[in-house]
């Protein structure tokens, strides 16, 4: 993965730039010492690292605005950062950039149960939003697996999803308003505690814009009443095709579970060895969760198992109590960790039409053999969001490159069958150069034109999302 060469004049102006930032912020909010900036050299895509010029940790919208105005004035690129859990390199610095981290802005500003909204600063972690409202019987629905660590800031920038989005939607469907600071320091509110835009849906445009259009400092989020209860069922099959057909049949029958998770044999074996959840040794398994009262759960699970029975499952296990439910989820939740025990892995994130599932899994198996790299599949089957985990050895020369090439083949396959490059992790640097596989030049041009409007000098997170060659004229115009 290539990054543009840093701007040498910016590097040489470091003392002046740091001095200006220190004028604006308290002492402990500006980091420029190389030993300390290293802590910000990467996000969760750890194969790529680069310490930034400096890091700022503002504590308010006003401070964010002052920093951005100053960087705008000095022509210094800014990379916004939440918790740094991006798997796409979205928060990867360049040597000539200032990292703007919102971690110190984590307050709950207002909770309003009657109107079912919460206003938070965006450095707040995802799980702690639910933590702030659960005593009152509410929750914040988008639940990325990284929810203990990731911030609302990154969730908004990546439009993150989670296991329960089949029913509740992803971030954009639960985001009602933001405070947005533009690169020139201008502050504006978009949306609020009311629903939908009265004019153009700029809020919808900001969500998923990967920190390239503005810095989001506050967010108004929809909170929902917690269900009375939830219970999973585990169903094992002796082929991926049959498991895929079962998913489709359940959806067609009009049952809409909150989650339908899918694991294939390599992944089942790895998690069994790691977590010992007691999963059957089969080709594919589904974990399906439904919500409601006890009786409602029984009724829905009866429908689901009835449909599953027509596909001759090798195993059908309903949770009888909370303990059994936890065991069913245990393997799924430790899947990434389990694969990590076997080797280094790269986690992909393409989405495919559910109907293409068997075909795509088969082809991934073939690619795995051709490249000589193991692959485990664990994903959100209800909405076709796949997470193939490719195993490789980071210490073996050439293995990372091989793994990236295979990943690109899989993502191209996702696009070919009618899907897309990324369902929830974002483009970042990881899928940047594959974008022209999904979009034609005019499609990309329209997106880049949006950036021209919000950030005319291309200073915010500039080398991401768009193929470097496509964005070069705009990025270079800045210099």
């Amino acid at each position: 993965m290539e990054m543009p060469a840093p701007d040498s004049t910016i590097l040489s102006r470091k003392p002046e730039i740091v001095a200006r930032l220190r004028d604006l912020l308290p002492d402990d909010a500006v980091i420029w010492d190389e030993a300390e900036t290293r802590a910000y050299e990467c996000d969760a895509l750890t194969a790529y690292r680069c310490p930034p010029l400096a890091v700022v940790l503002p504590a308010s919208t006003e401070e964010v605005s002052a920093v951005l105005a100053a960087c705008h004035d000095m022509g210094v690129p800014v990379v916004p950062r939440g918790s740094g859990t991006s798997l796409a390199g979205g928060a990867l610095p360049t040597a000539d950039c200032v990292i703007l981290g919102v971690a110190r802005m984590s307050a709950v500003l207002d909770t309003d149960y009657a109107n079912r909204v919460i206003r938070v600063q965006t450095g707040r972690t995802n799980l702690s939003v639910t933590g702030a409202v659960e005593e009152h019987g509410f929750f914040y629905a988008p639940d990325p697996s990284s929810q203990l660590a990731c911030a609302i800031a990154g969730n908004i920038a990546m439009n993150s999803g989670g296991a329960h989005c089949l029913k509740y939607g992803v971030t954009t469907n639960n985001l009602m308003g933001v405070t947005l600071v533009l690169m020139d320091g201008t502050v504006t509110e978009l949306g609020g505690a009311h629903l939908d835009a009265g004019r153009l849906d700029l809020l919808g445009l900001i969500c998923g814009s990967e920190g390239q259009l503005g810095v989001v400092t506050e967010a108004v989020l929809r909170i929902l009443p917690s269900p009375e209860g939830a219970r999973p069922v585990l169903i094992g099959f002796d082929s991926n095709e049959v498991a895929g057909a079962c998913v489709s049949d359940i959806i067609r029958a009009g049952v809409l579970p909150v989650a339908i998770e899918f694991m294939d044999r390599p992944c089942i074996r790895a998690t069994e060895a790691f977590a010992g959840a007691g999963y059957p040794d089969c080709e594919a398994l589904l974990i399906i969760e439904v919500e409601g009262s006890e009786a409602e759960i029984d009724e829905q699970l009866a429908r689901i198992t009835e449909i599953a029975q027509t596909h001759n499952p090798v195993e059908l296990r309903e949770a009888r109590d909370a303990d059994q439910a936890a065991r069913i989820w245990l393997g799924r939740k430790s899947a990434f960790g389990a694969m990590g025990q076997i080797n280094d892995y790269m986690c992909l994130d393409g989405t495919i039409p559910v109907s293409a599932l068997p075909q795509v899994l088969k082809r991934i198996g073939e690619l795995s053999r051709d490249y000589g790299l193991g692959v485990g599949n664990v994903f959100h089957a209800g909405d076709g969001n796949m997470h193939p985990l490719i195993l490789f050895d980071a210490n073996k020369p050439g293995d990372l490159e091989k793994c990236e090439a295979m990943g690109a083949d899989i993502l191209r396959l996702c696009v070919e069958v009618g899907g897309c490059l990324t369902g929830e992790h974002g483009v970042g640097i990881e899928k940047r150069d594959l974008m022209d596989h999904q979009y034609r030049p005019d499609d990309l041009e329209a997106q880049m034109a949006v950036k021209d409007v919000f950030d005319p000098h291309w200073l915010l997170n500039p080398a991401k999302v768009f193929p470097l060659a496509a964005s070069a004229p705009r990025r270079e115009a800045r210099a």
Binding site: Y113, A114, N115, R116, V117, G137, C165, G169, V170, T172, N173, L182, T188, G192, A193, H194, L195, D196, A197, G198, R199, L200, D201, L202, G204, L205, C207, G208, P225, S248, R252, A295, E296, E299, T351, P353, V354, S355, G418, C420, L421, T422, G423, E424, V427, K431, Q438, Y439, D442, D443, L444, E445, A446, Q447, A449, V450, D452, V453, F454, V465
Partner: protein, 373 residues
Amino acid sequence: MTHRPTTEAELSEIIASTETPLRITGGGTRPIGTTSATTGLSTSALSGVTLYEPGALTLVARAGTPLAEIETLLAGEGQRLAFEPMDHRPLLGSTGTPTLGGMVAANVSGPRRISAVGACRDALLGVRFVDGAGRIIANGGRVMKNVTGYDLVKLMAGSFGTLGVLTELSLKVLPAPETSVTLTARDLDDATAIAALSRALGAPWEVTGAAHLPGTGDTHIRLEGSAASMRYRAERLATHLADLGAFNANFDAEDTAALWAAIRDVRAFADTKGALWCLSVKPGDGPGLVASLPDTQALYDWGGGRIWLLDPSGTKGAAIRDAVARIGGHATRLRGADDLPAFPPANPVVARLEQGLKARFDPRGLLNPGLMD
């Protein structure tokens, strides 16, 4: 004169080669806002469903496809557009055939928008459109989760044909429930009614409609699901709200369908004179807002967050906009008070961004000029 292209390529050519501003229509049933353009461009001949996969909950169709055709197709598989788009014809006295593209361009959602399913824009998975320079642009796709690049899908929903002419849309559809029930309380004052709706929406029984009607003072709550579940939920909910009002359940699904279609289409104000406004506010702010505007009538939907406000005098537009600006939210003028802009004003920052987008997507200012000013 009205252009009626039959293909996207033809549409692209028309726009690329014209210098005449265009008035973009689907079925012309939602005449919200006015444009100075007089030459028409209708998408009605860009019609037809291109893909429907019930097992994947996905529908792709061309912009001019009549909504009725889509709803019939979905119903055949026990599915529906969950956001429940309203029919504007009774309210606005318009004629014509509502199309998919018009629905998306106006981001039309009905009572069920208040539930987890969200608005039309939330169900929209992908768009194809022709911009003001004649470029054909695709964004999003047909799959349910997609964060590849910027979300122009949301930008196009509700852009009223000012940034591009929609040619094809993909939507997430959902299974229709087995049955439905409505709980109704009579004669509640606005504040009590909204308090009851808020409490209902904050309870775990998945309310999919929450409205308070003018005149009769009826307050309605809709639940949808299996028959057994409906009996259980209706009873729990009525108990939960008992101190605020006596809510009685009607288990006849046909009654519920008819009632909520009337709420969706704002039938209460269909044959009235005067100005009609659609407000979006924080639900709890609604009753106070309406009380501060004497001689208006309100139909509250979305638990009080959407207010259809009838101003028989047609003179209170400025007062309505001021009042909404004070509490936060927005007010759109649907008919009457023609001297006022239809769309709510934008703050200077937003106005600058919108003008920038318009200049990029429609550099020659040909698409519905002035409509959203």
